[in-house]
C-alpha cells in the first residue's frame, strides 16, 4: 500500500510502508521561479541585477556579487554571522529578500576597511584577539558598527533603563541624545551575534575601546 503523509503526527511510531517528501508537508508543485529587476548599491558601487524573488540578500552578496565576507551560519536569523548594514542599520542578510531592496545601500565587512587600511573596529578586533576561527567576525564587526551608531543616536536597548522601577514598562523610550555604551549595554546589544569560539571578552574590549575613542560609528 502506498500512502503519503503530511505531518509528523501521522507517521509517529508507525512501522510499515510510507511515502514522504523530504522536508515538507505539502504536495503541491512549486510555481516556477520569478525574476525581478532592481538596482542596489553595495559598498558604494551600484549594481543592476535580476534576482530570483526567493533570493536572500546574503545569497545575492555571496553568490552573485562574490562578496563572501558575510557568512551563512544558520540562514534562519539565529546567529548573526550574516549581519550587514543597510543605510547604517544592521540587518540579518539571510532574512532579507533582495527583491525588497530596490535603490537601497548596503555595506558589508569588505566595505568597512581593507587589510592594509582597516576600520578602527577591525584593528581593535585584531589587537584584542576578539576572534579565533573568524567565522562570526564579519557579522560581529558589522553589528558593532551598527551598535555604535545606535548609541550615538540615543536608541535604547533592553538594559538601557534597567534601573527604572518598571523596566520594559509601557512608557515610550525617551530618546535623549547619545547613550554611553557600558559593558552591560555592549553585551546586550551584541547578543544576536553568536561566537562559538567564545571570543566574547575580546569582542567586548574591542567595542568598548572603539566606543571610548568615539570612532567607528562611521
Amino acid at each position: 500500500m502506498r500512502e503519503s503523509w503530511d505531518s509528523r503526527e501521522r507517521i509517529a511510531g508507525r512501522a510499515g510502508r510510507v511515502t514522504g517528501q523530504a522536508n515538507t508537508s505539502g504536495d503541491a508543485a512549486a510555481p516556477p521561479p520569478v525574476g525581478a529587476d532592481l538596482r542596489i548599491s553595495v559598498n558604494g558601487a551600484w549594481h543592476a541585477l535580476t534576482v530570483d524573488t526567493r533570493e536572500s540578500l546574503l545569497d545575492t552578496l555571496r553568490d552573485r556579487l562574490g562578496l563572501t565576507g558575510a557568512k551563512k551560519g544558520c540562514d534562519h536569523g539565529q546567529c548573526g554571522a550574516c549581519t550587514v548594514l543597510i543605510d547604517g542599520r544592521r540587518v540579518l542578510s539571510c532574512l532579507t529578500l533582495t527583491v525588497s531592496l530596490d535603490d537601497e545601500s548596503v555595506t558589508t565587512v569588505e566595505g568597512l576597511g581593507l587589510p592594509g587600511a582597516p576600520h578602527p573596529l577591525q584593528r581593535a578586533f585584531v589587537e584584542h584577539d576578539a576572534l579565533q576561527c573568524g567565522f562570526c567576525t564579519p557579522g560581529q564587526i558589522c553589528s558593532a558598527v551598527g551598535v555604535l551608531a545606535e548609541a550615538a543616536e540615543g536608541r535604547p536597548s533592553l538594559v538601557t533603563h534597567r534601573d527604572r522601577a518598571h523596566p520594559g514598562g509601557s512608557a515610550e523610550p525617551v530618546i535623549t541624545g547619545a547613550l554611553p555604551l557600558d559593558e552591560e549595554e555592549i553585551r546586550e546589544r551584541m547578543s544576536g551575534n553568536l561566537c562559538r569560539c567564545g571570543a566574547y571578552p575580546g569582542i567586548l574590549a574591542a567595542i568598548a575601546e572603539a566606543a571610548r575613542a568615539g570612532e567607528g560609528a562611521r
Binding site: 514522504g20 553568490d63 557568512k71 551584541m190 547578543s191 569560539c197
Partner: protein, 698 residues
C-alpha cells in the same frame, strides 16, 4: 628525556597578533563555502524521514522535470564506492540507519532551485520500529573492546566493592550529561571539483592529510590525485576532524554530473551527520576516611553509538588519572541505537567524565566537612594512580592554590543556601581540570630564500586555535629570525603530511616537526658558510622516530576552575557571575591566543552547564531542537567575567617547545565548578546537565 627545550627563545611566549587576523576581520579570509568555481551547480542532501528501515523508491523522473534541476541521485542510480565503512558508504545501500541519514541528493543550477527540489523529492520507505533512547539498564549495553583514543574499556585495582562497604564515608551517585552538539559557527560545506582523474575538495577540515587518504581510497585513486584545500576553518571542536558522509556525497555527485558541486549543510543538518557528544549515564562511588582521604574510586559510564559504527566516549578515563586511592575501578558500556553516530566534541571523555567525578568530589567534601580545595590537595597522587608512571609534570595543587588566591576563596562559608543579595542566592564552587598532553608524528618542510625569507610548509590546520601564528613564532626562534620573515603555509593536503588538529596535540606534533626542519636547515646553512644558495635551500623533517622513541611518562595538563553563580530564588534563573581558571600546561607559546583558547573552552563549559541539551524524540528518532533558536549556546550576555591564568611550568619531557595542548582543558571541569557553585548557592545538587530552571524550582 627528549631534546632540551629550545634555547634562545625570543618569540615563543610573545603575545603576537594572529597573523591572519586582518584577513579575517576584513572578510578577505576565504572559507570553503566562499569558493565559486566556474560552472558550479548546487547540491542539497536529502535526509531520511524514518529512523530505521529501507528506501523503496525515489521519484527521480518527476524531479528531473522541475526547472533548473540537473540531477537527483539515490541508491538506485548512484555510482558504487570502494568502502567497508558504512558511515561513509553514502547511497550504497537502501538501508536507513538513523533519521536524517542522507538517502538522496538533488542538484540544480541555483541554490533556490536545489532547496526547492530537495524539499519536494518524493521518497517511498518501508519503516521499521526504532530504538533511540539510551538507558543505563538497556539490555543491549555491552563492553566494547576499547574506547575512544585506544584506552581499555575497563580497568581495576584492589577490591573497590569491599573497600566501599567498609569505608567510613561513601558518596554513591548517578550523574548524567545530555547529547550535545559541536555547532561550530561555520556549517560544514564541500565544493568538489573533478578534472581529469583528479579531485579538488574545498572543505573545512581539521585533518587534510587524513581526508585526502580517505577520499583516495573511497574513489580508488592514489592520494596524490586528491587535493584538499582548507586554509581557514570556521571552528570545528572535533566535528571537522573525521571524514564525514556529506563530503563523500559531494564528491560522488560532482563525478556523476561532471561539474563542480557545492554542497553546504544547513544548520539543522549539522545536528545529524557531523557528530555530537553522546549522552552519558555515569555512576561514581567514592569511599573515604573521615578526613577525606580516598580509599576507593569507581566510575562506570554508559554511552550510545549508532548501528553503523562503534564509538565509545572515554568518559571514565580521567578517573584513572586524577586522585590516589588503593582500590579503584572504571568501566565503559555502549548501546548501539538507531541514532546518528556520536563523535569527538571538545575534550571527549574528560569533559563529561570530569563533570561526574568533580561533582562527586564536591559531595565528598561536604560529607567529610573538608574544604573542596583541601580535599583535592589531600588526594594528590605521587605518580599515575593506575599507570604507576611518573608524571612528566603535575601542578594541580599549585593551580588550586593560585586559583583560590586569585578568586578570594579563603574564608568561604561552606553552608549552602545562606548567601542572598536581594532575590539572588549566591554561591561559589571549584573543580579540577585535566587533559592528556599527546603528540603524533608529523612532517614539515622549511625553505630559505636568498633574500632572508623563510617558508614553512605543513598540512596542519588552524581552526581558530592560532596554529598559524604559533608555528610562525616557533619557526622564527628555531631559525634565529623574526616572525615577519617567516610565512607558514598550512591547511592544504599538498603540503607535507601532518596529523589532525585534535586531541590538543596539534602544536606539540606540528611544532616538533617545524623545529626539527628548522634546526636541520640552520645546520646546513651554517655548513654552507651561512649563505643561501641562489635556488634556495629546503629541508624536510619527519618526527616519526622521535615521537615513537619518547620516554614513558604520564603527560597531562591540569587546571583548577572557580565559579561564582547567582540563582534567582523565585525563578531559578542561574547566572555565572565569575569564572576563573588557572592552568598548568607547560610553556605557553602565545599568551594572547592561549588566553582566547582557555577562555573559549571555559565559555563552552559555561554553555554546557547552563544551556546545552539535544533532546532525542523517541517517537521520531531525531533531535527535536536542532537549530540555534532551540539549542542554545552561550551568547554575549551570558558571559560576564571569565578569566584565565596559567602557571609557568617547565617540563623537559614533552617536546622541543615544552608545551602542552590547551585547546580542550578549558572546557574540562567548568560545568562541575558551576554545578558545585549552584549547590552552594541553593542547596540543590544538580547531577544531570544542563542546570535548568525547572530542576532548581521545587
Amino acid at each position: 628525556m627528549t631534546a632540551p627545550v629550545t634555547a634562545g627563545r625570543r618569540y615563543a611566549g610573545a603575545a603576537l597578533d594572529r597573523v591572519e587576523g586582518l584577513d579575517k576581520v576584513t572578510g578577505r579570509a576565504a572559507y570553503a563555502a566562499d569558493h565559486r568555481p566556474a560552472d558550479l551547480v548546487h547540491a542539497v542532501a536529502v535526509p531520511a524521514t524514518i529512523a530505521r528501515g529501507e528506501v523503496v523508491q525515489v521519484d527521480v523522473d518527476a524531479m528531473l522535470k522541475r526547472p533548473g534541476v540537473v540531477a537527483a541521485i539515490w541508491h538506485g542510480n548512484a555510482p558504487r564506492l570502494a568502502t567497508s565503512d558504512e558511515e561513509l558508504a553514502v547511497l550504497q545501500s537502501r538501508r536507513v540507519a538513523y533519521r536524517g541519514q542522507y538517502v538522496a541528493v538533488v542538484v540544480a543550477e541555483t541554490p533556490e532551485d536545489a532547496r526547492e527540489a530537495a524539499r519536494t523529492l518524493r521518497i517511498e520507505y518501508v519503516a521499521e520500529e526504532h530504538d533511540v533512547i539510551l538507558r543505563a539498564d538497556h539490555p543491549r549495553a555491552y563492553r566494547p573492546e576499547n574506547v575512544n583514543a585506544g584506552h581499555p574499556s575497563d580497568t581495576g585495582q584492589g577490591d573497590p566493592d569491599a573497600a566501599l562497604a567498609a569505608a567510613p564515608v561513601v558518596v554513591d551517585e548517578e550523574y548524567g550529561t545530555p547529547a550535545e552538539h559541536n555547532n561550530p559557527m561555520e556549517p560544514h560545506a564541500t565544493i568538489a571539483d573533478w578534472h581529469g582523474d583528479g579531485l579538488i575538495v574545498h572543505e573545512p577540515s581539521q585533518n587534510v592529510s587524513g581526508l585526502r587518504a580517505t577520499l583516495a581510497s573511497l574513489f580508488g585513486m592514489p592520494p596524490g590525485h586528491v587535493h584538499v584545500v582548507s586554509p581557514h576553518v570556521g571552528g570545528g571542536f572535533g566535528s571537522k576532524a573525521k571524514t564525514l558522509p556529506h563530503t563523500i556525497l559531494a564528491a560522488l555527485t560532482a563525478k556523476q554530473v561532471g561539474r563542480p558541486v557545492k554542497l553546504a549543510l544547513t544548520r539543522r543538518q549539522l545536528f545529524v551527520a557531523t557528530g555530537y557528544r553522546t549522552p552519558t549515564v555515569q555512576r561514581v562511588r567514592l569511599g573515604a576516611e573521615p578526613d577525606g582521604r580516598l580509599i576507593a574510586i569507581t566510575h562506570d559510564a554508559v554511552m550510545q553509538s549508532s548501528t553503523l559504527s562503534e564509538f565509545t566516549e572515554q568518559t571514565a578515563v580521567p578517573s584513572r588519572v586524577m586522585y590516589a586511592a588503593p582500590h579503584r575501578r572504571t568501566t565503559h558500556r555502549v548501546v548501539r541505537l538507531d541514532v546518528p553516530t556520536p563523535s569527538w566534541m571538545r575534550a571527549p571523555g574528560e569533559c563529561p567524565g570530569m563533570f561526574a567525578l568533580e561533582s562527586a568530589m564536591d559531595e565528598l567534601a561536604i560529607a567529610c566537612g573538608v574544604d573542596p580545595v583541601e580535599l583535592r590537595v589531600r588526594n594528590e597522587p605521587a605518580a599515575g594512580p593506575e599507570s604507576g608512571l611518573p608524571f612528566s609534570s603535575r601542578n594541580l595543587v599549585a593551580c588550586l592554590r593560585e586559583g583560590a588566591r586569585r578568586f578570594g576563596w579563603a574564608g568561604r562559608d561552606p553552608r549552602p543556601g545562606v548567601r542572598r543579595r536581594g532575590r539572588t542566592l549566591i554561591g561559589t564552587g571549584v573543580a579540577a581540570s585535566t587533559f592528556p598532553a599527546l603528540r603524533a608524528p608529523s612532517s614539515a618542510t622549511v625553505r630559505a630564500e636568498p633574500g632572508g625569507r623563510y617558508t614553512v610548509r605543513i598540512a596542519a590546520a588552524d581552526i581558530g586555535t592560532g596554529a598559524r601564528t604559533v608555528l610562525t613564532q616557533i619557526a622564527a626562534d628555531a631559525l634565529g629570525t623574526a616572525p615577519a620573515a617567516v610565512t607558514v603555509e598550512l591547511g592544504d593536503s599538498a603540503l607535507p603530511p601532518a596529523p589532525v588538529a585534535g586531541g590538543s596535540m596539534g602544536t606539540a606534533s606540528w611544532g616538533t616537526a617545524v623545529v626539527r626542519a628548522c634546526e636541520e636547515l640552520a645546520a646546513r646553512l651554517e655548513a654552507a658558510g651561512g649563505t643561501v644558495p641562489d635556488g634556495g635551500l629546503e629541508v624536510t623533517a619527519d618526527t616519526g622516530r622521535e615521537v615513537r622513541a619518547q620516554e614513558r611518562y604520564s603527560r597531562h595538563a591540569f587546571g583548577a576552575q572557580f565559579a561564582e553563580v547567582g540563582v534567582d530564588a523565585d525563578t531559578g534563573e542561574t547566572r555565572v557571575l565569575r569564572l576563573l581558571g588557572v592552568f598548568a600546561a607547560g610553556r605557553v607559546l602565545n599568551p594572547k591566543t592561549a588566553r582566547s583558547q582557555f577562555i573559549g573552552g571555559m565559555t563552552m563549559g559555561l554553555s554546557m552547564a547552563l544551556l546545552e541539551e539535544s533532546i532525542m524524540d523517541g517517537r521520531f528518532g531525531d533531535f527535536l531542537n536542532c537549530d540555534l533558536a532551540q539549542y542554545h549556546i552561550a551568547a554575549h550576555a551570558d558571559v560576564r567575567d571569565v578569566q584565565a591564568y596559567w602557571l609557568e611550568e617547565e617540563d623537559p619531557h614533552l617536546n622541543p617547545m615544552g608545551s602542552k595542548g590547551i585547546g580542550e582543558i578549558g572546557i574540562v571541569g567548568t560545568a562541575a565548578a558551576i554545578a558545585n557553585a549552584v549547590h552552594h548557592a541553593t542547596g540543590v545538587r544538580i547531577r544531570e546537565l544542563p542546570i535548568r530552571l525547572d530542576k532548581l524550582v521545587r
